[in-house]
């Protein structure tokens, strides 16, 4: 226990103080906290390296966490915000189905229910209770987006044509996957019997268990090194310090209340736009995001369960407050996320939700829009949105089936001091898939992958450009499921910045061009060219205030054309130089 190696400071006397059992000295707090963060990172590394799911590998679509005996989230890996945001309530949610007192060492709880987890079935939550001498001292957990959980289409994220969650695959309320260290083969068989790729799902479940096991082992080592009482008091201190830091960040925002609205194109071909509305209220260290004024829940697989809304609400509040800090139950205490039951943002089971990921960008953007007046130095033009097309079928050239998962990201909106960054993942934080890797995997040839000139919203600081990707099919037939947005409602600018160009999806077949909708599913034929042209991001500030040298640079670099400069900035251009400013 508390020996010399622990690097704790022996000389500081504990003192009782508000809500704490004892005050932990800053050095022990710094070191134990750092060790906890190192554990959740190591858990994430274990999961990422051994996972099969591309969402885990390439997209960091997972998270890891450590909880105290009361189920409070103490430390969390900085991976997918959607999972991070769902974690704080995990133990509480499990306790609705499993008596915590009945758990024994070696038990492992598993569930993927949308209302308990992160809002769609592919995300499995795996939680391992941690014991010392038969006493529960905490939990170690890992979540991961699995490649498939059954249901109507491969990947279990179909939007169109799904009207109930029962069509989205296997729903697992909390069960014990391991009992006292023994795998429950029956439960596993139920899971694997309901998914399209049982080997991969099993591999990823075990990768999650390995990750939780790493967390448990290292958490026990900390208890052993510092002693139970000191560690538990440090947990209290971590939450108190986090909450107080978060409140400081929020106090730096002006008090007040603001609202904003924006829309998704639709919730599937032929359906109405989906209204996003938020009222943001900042009040002396507390912030509330209330989404109650938005759309009712819809009958396609795109609804945002409350956990998902809250996850991205938390992310948004932290990002706009520039609260770059480790997350735990303390950091989110000052953030309140509200959504009316039965609304699109707090859907009621069995509302389908497989494709809810597309909502994250708009959730952020309405809050950004609402806070723009209050936070001119943080607000930004709207993103170019993103696209997640999947193309699958049978490759007759190679005699095997293929599924091509893809991610397209364009630019950021303009900010108060700079143009939007080009070609970046908007909120979810993923890498793209290299063209050379993409073409290895199936009968698709990319004809172009480039930024579209003049697509970014004009402004004092220009919005990033929309990305264009043209794909030609080299086999007889394939099915393309499109998932994007911003075809009807352009990404908005702020403070006089212009909107970006809208999204277009153009299918060229035998020389004929067909405009497609953003959430449709289409059969492609040999030599069809599918051209995905993402919208451009919104600008920041009045275009008339843009520096001439920036316009000239943009022309030289081909981000805008001379014609675009005349149209959007009202300037005359000669030999690449601005000769007559607007006026």
């Amino acid at each position: 226990m508390n020996d010399a190696n622990s690097q704790s400071m022996g000389g500081i006397a504990p003192s009782a103080e508000d809500g704490r059992n004892v005050r932990i000295d800053p050095i022990t707090l710094s070191i134990v906290w750092s060790k906890l963060l190192s554990i959740v990172e190591e858990m994430g590394g274990t999961l990422r390296r051994t996972a099969y799911s591309p969402a885990v590998r390439e997209g960091d679509d997972f998270s890891t966490g450590l909880f105290d005996r009361k189920g409070r989230l103490i430390a969390q890996g900085q991976f997918s915000p959607a999972h991070i945001g769902a974690m704080p309530n995990v133990i509480r949610n499990i306790s609705k189905y499993i008596t915590i007192e009945s758990l024994v060492p070696g038990d492992v709880v598993l569930f993927n229910d949308s209302t308990l987890g992160s809002g769609h079935y592919p995300d499995f939550f795996l939680i391992m209770p941690v014991f010392i001498d038969g006493q529960l001292v905490g939990y170690s957990g890992a979540t991961a987006h699995h490649i498939d959980t059954g249901g109507a289409t491969p990947g279990s994220q179909e939007i169109a044509g799904v009207s109930e969650a029962y069509q989205e695959g296997l729903r697992l309320l909390p069960v014990l996957l391991f009992r006292a260290g023994e795998l429950d083969e029956d439960i596993l068989r139920v899971i694997l019997g309901n998914v399209r790729v049982p080997d991969l799902v099993q591999g990823d479940l075990f990768a999650q268990r390995n990750s939780a096991h790493v967390g448990m082992t290292r958490l026990l080592a900390i208890f052993d090194e510092y002693g139970e009482e000191l560690v538990e008091n440090t947990f209290d201190e971590i939450l108190i310090a986090s909450e107080s830091r978060m409140r400081e960040y929020i106090r730096a925002l002006p008090d007040g209340s603001w609202e904003f609205e924006d829309f998704l194109d639709d919730s599937g071909p032929g359906s109405d736009p989906v209204r996003f509305h938020v009222r943001v209220t900042v009040d002396d260290g507390d912030i509330e995001l209330d989404f109650s004024g938005g759309n009712d829940q819809v009958s396609s697989g795109i609804n945002s369960y409350y956990n998902f809304t809250r996850a991205w609400g938390n992310f948004t509040a932290m990002a706009l407050a520039k609260a770059i800090m480790p997350q735990n139950e303390g950091t989110i205490r000052p953030i309140k996320i509200t959504a009316r039951e039965g609304s699109f943002f707090n859907a009621v089971h069995p509302a389908p939700s497989g494709g809810r990921a597309t909502n994250q960008v708009r959730l952020f953007e309405v809050v950004n829009g609402a806070l723009a007046q209050a936070l001119p130095h943080r607000a930004m033009g709207a993103f170019t949105h993103w696209s997640n097309p999947n193309i699958g079928g049978f490759d007759d050239r190679k005699g095997k089936p293929f599924v091509q998962y893809d991610l397209l990201f364009g630019g950021y909106g303009g900010q108060h001091d700079k143009d939007g960054e080009e070609g970046m993942a908007p909120l979810m934080n993923c890498t793209n898939i290299p063209v050379e890797v993409y073409e290895h995997a199936g009968p698709l040839l990319v004809q172009r992958l480039e930024l579209q000139a003049d697509s970014g919203g004009a402004g004092k600081f220009r919005g990033g450009l929309g990305l264009r990707k043209d794909i030609i099919l080299r086999c007889k037939e394939a099915l393309a499921t499109l998932l994007t947005d911003r075809r009807k409602f352009a990404p908005f600018g702020v403070f006089g910045g212009k909107s970006g160009e809208k999204t277009r999806i153009v299918l060229t077949r035998n020389g004929e061009q067909i405009d497609l909708e953003t959430k449709e599913t289409r059969t492609l034929q040999l030599d069809d060219v599918l051209s995905l042209r993402l919208s451009g991001a919104g600008g920041y500030g009045n275009p008339a205030e843009r520096d001439a040298w920036r316009i000239e640079d943009d022309i030289a670099d081909g981000y805008i054309t001379e014609e675009g400069a005349r149209r959007d900035y009202g300037v005359e251009i000669q030999d690449g130089k601005v000769v007559a400013p607007q006026g």
């Binding site: 400071m9 000295d25 800053p26 050095i27 830091r245 890797v437 073409e439 172009r448």
Partner: protein
């Protein structure tokens, strides 16, 4: 034979002269001259020759590690560079991999690319993933791209076409045309520089090569001319990131390979020390002024990585520019002697901001006013204010006291000593965390490794970090302050060649593997005559993965004829390596190969051997004494013995706590540690063997 090794670092240029007849090692340091790097080298060489009474023509080998390529990238001071690429893919470089290096930070800046979009020119051509030509190269479009390159006053050009690792024909055509039409232009083609799958990484690497090519060529020209003028007749060798030396001619062609020149040489020193002290499993710990660099030696060989990033933000992945060239694996974190400590009112943070050498820690008295790790170490008594840098500097203890009080102790309600200890301990925890990443998280059991600590600040922290990871032994080598320069003396000439040939390793793979190695051997044969006359020693390795998983691991492959049985051996080597890294075998899913690699080493008389007997240094040695230091084990300040290496050698093993003062670094052993001096003059600390309180 007399050999001279010189390593240019950010602050100092280190020079080591080694005489293999006497075994004597002479060490010197001189301030780096950033505006003209060769100047410091020549100045330092002069000094060393004078001090040792050596004539320039007596020197048999000149070995060099340099930051010239790195600095050109960091400061964007390279050539005006164009990129020629496949039509439709102009933006591969601009788009990059699209991931934020901090998930919660939406106000980041992407790294500035090494060329602007206006200098990226498209050529009509297309090759597919199988290497088949989809669109033949259109010479008219190539010519018009070359016209623009010439009109724009471009100095250097990179050529990167899609899938050129699978079929380099189009890139070769472009190289030929550029050579004909613009003979003075420096040209780098991706099929030569980095023929590996993943277009962004290949583009970034090839462009970096092109960007630094002219500046590195000019630098080497200047250096070689100056050396010749001084009367040196020995051949010059330059260290690459992979830990191998090459001739200046090869370095001129592939300057991107020398980016991690100095740090790689540091790991070689650690390997060498391990060999002499009978261990081939070494964790290396090089803590300097701004960062700490960690490396690994497994089975006597430094761990090699296939890709690393340069110009990162706090070493975060995706924050810098990726370079796909083989490099000794290093994890660099923002914990150095100059790292600044701060508090948010609850906890203490150390780094990643650093006071560097200028203004430096408060105690340097040159304008720094924020407390650093060095200031904390001074207040804890670990450093002697009168004997810093061999007595060349005096440290201002009062100023450091005031700074720590104001910025850390007062805001947190700590005593001065607690604040100082807190900074030291937090820095240790950060380094422990990084060390875990290099060891435990990659399947290496720290209990089987020895920690070799060097750099100005490393030996103060090493014993405590070793404890926290249960590393049983720390070695602080002689001349620890000039580790990379000494490491150069142990290096051999070596080149690594790599090629992407993706395939599933099944019964039909043997021909493909054999073909890949035939190509790789041809690549080696091309450069071998420029490296030496003797036959190289070839060793094979590959980047393989579980079919369906996304991460390749580096697997060393056996020698021998490549047939069906060989493929089985490759698969088995993969499973063994995978099990080492991840703790389990998964033989059910197949194994997939991505990159095949061949290392060629050229043993020679001028490189690779180092036997030392005596080390002499510029500064004088230190006297014996005691000083009060703070250790949490004792709970208060207590006297600690201070000695130098000579006294340790004479007095035999002793028990910590103890401080050993070298001119360029200070070694701290803790209570319970046993200190001894090895025959070759390395300080050995056996951790916690005497049983601490």
């Amino acid at each position: 034979m007399i050999r001279l090794a010189f390593d240019i670092g950010g602050t100092f240029t280190d020079i080591v002269l080694h005489d293999s007849d006497s075994g004597a090692l002479h060490v010197a340091k001189t301030l780096t001259t950033p505006s003209d790097l060769a100047q410091a080298v020549l100045h330092g060489l002069d000094d060393v020759l004078t001090q040792t009474g050596t004539e320039a023509d007596e020197v048999g080998a000149l070995l060099h590690a340099t930051t010239v390529a790195t600095n050109a990238i960091l400061e964007r001071r390279g050539a005006k560079t164009a990129l020629l690429t496949t039509e439709g893919f102009r933006d591969v470089l601009i788009i990059a991999r699209q991931k934020r290096y901090e998930t919660y930070n939406l106000y980041f800046h992407k790294p500035e690319p090494l060329t602007r979009r206006r200098h990226i020119y498209e050529v009509t051509e297309r090759i597919d993933a199988d290497g088949d030509v989809v669109t033949p190269i259109d010479l008219q479009s190539l010519d018009s791209a070359i016209d623009r390159v010439m009109a724009e006053g471009i100095e250097s050009a990179a050529i990167v076409f899609l899938h050129s690792y699978a079929n380099a024909d189009h890139e070769r055509v472009a190289v030929r045309h550029l050579a004909e039409r613009a003979p003075s232009l420096a040209v780098s083609a991706s099929c030569d520089v980095s023929p590996r799958i993943r277009e962004y990484e290949r583009t970034s690497t090839t462009l970096a090569n092109a960007f630094v090519k002219p500046i590195v060529a000019r630098y080497l020209d200047t250096l070689q001319d100056a050396l010749a003028q001084k009367g040196f007749s020995a051949p010059l060798h330059v260290m690459q990131s992979n830990g191998g030396l090459v001739t200046p001619e090869i370095a001129r062609d592939y300057p991107v390979r020398i980016v991690e020149s100095g740090p790689a040489a540091g790991v070689l020193l650690a390997r060498h020390v391990g060999q002499l002290e009978s261990t081939d499993h070494v964790l290396t710990f090089d803590m300097g002024g701004t960062t700490a660099k960690l490396g690994v030696v497994d089975d006597g060989e430094p761990a090699i990585t296939s890709t690393f990033e340069v110009d990162t933000v706090d070493s975060r992945r995706y924050s810098g520019l990726p370079l796909s060239t083989p490099a000794i694996e290093l994890l660099e974190i923002g914990s150095g002697g100059g790292s600044i400590a701060s508090t948010d009112g609850h906890t203490i943070q150390v780094g990643p901001k650093s006071a560097g050498a200028d203004p430096g820690p408060i105690c340097y008295g040159s304008g720094g006013d924020l407390p650093t790790v060095t200031d904390a170490n001074l207040l804890l008594g670990y450093l002697d204010p009168d004997y810093f840098n061999g007595g060349a500097m005096t440290l201002d203890i009062e100023a450091a006291t005031a700074g720590l009080q104001r910025h850390i102790a007062d805001p947190l309600g700590l005593s001065l000593e607690e604040a100082a200890w807190g900074i030291h301990a937090v820095a240790n925890t950060d380094m422990e965390r990084a060390m875990r990443v290099m060891s435990v998280e990659k399947g290496r059991d720290p209990r089987k490794y020895t920690l070799v600590a060097f750099g100005g600040a490393g030996p103060i922290h090493a014993a405590r970090i070793a404890r926290s990871l249960a590393i049983p032994r720390v070695i602080v080598p002689a001349a620890a302050g000039v580790g990379s320069a000494v490491g150069l003396l142990t290096a051999e000439a070596r080149i690594d060649v790599t090629i992407t040939r993706t395939m599933v390793l099944d019964d039909s793979a043997a021909d493909g593997v054999a073909a890949a190695y035939t190509e790789l051997e041809a690549l080696v044969a091309k450069d071998a005559p420029r490296l030496g006359t003797e036959e190289p020693i070839l060793s094979r390795y590959a980047y393989l993965r579980q079919a369906g998983q996304g991460f390749e691991i580096n697997v060393n492959l056996p020698d021998g004829r490549i047939d069906g049985g060989y493929v089985d051996q490759v698969v088995e080597a993969f499973h063994t390596a995978y099990e080492r890294d991840y703790g389990y075998r998964d033989e059910a899913s197949g194994v997939e190969a991505v990159d095949w690699c061949l290392a060629a080493t050229f043993p020679s008389a001028t490189t690779g051997k180092l036997e030392t007997k005596a080390v002499t240094q510029q500064a004088s040695s230190r006297i014996e004494g005691t000083r009060d230091i703070y250790l949490p084990e004792s709970g208060a300040r207590a006297p600690c013995q201070i000695l130098d290496r000579a006294i340790l050698a004479a007095n035999g093993p002793l028990t910590g706590p103890a401080i050993i003062e070298d001119p360029e670094s200070t070694i701290l052993a803790l209570p319970g540690d046993r200190l001894s001096m090895s025959e070759r003059g390395d300080v050995i600390i056996d951790i916690n063997v005497e049983g601490s309180a």
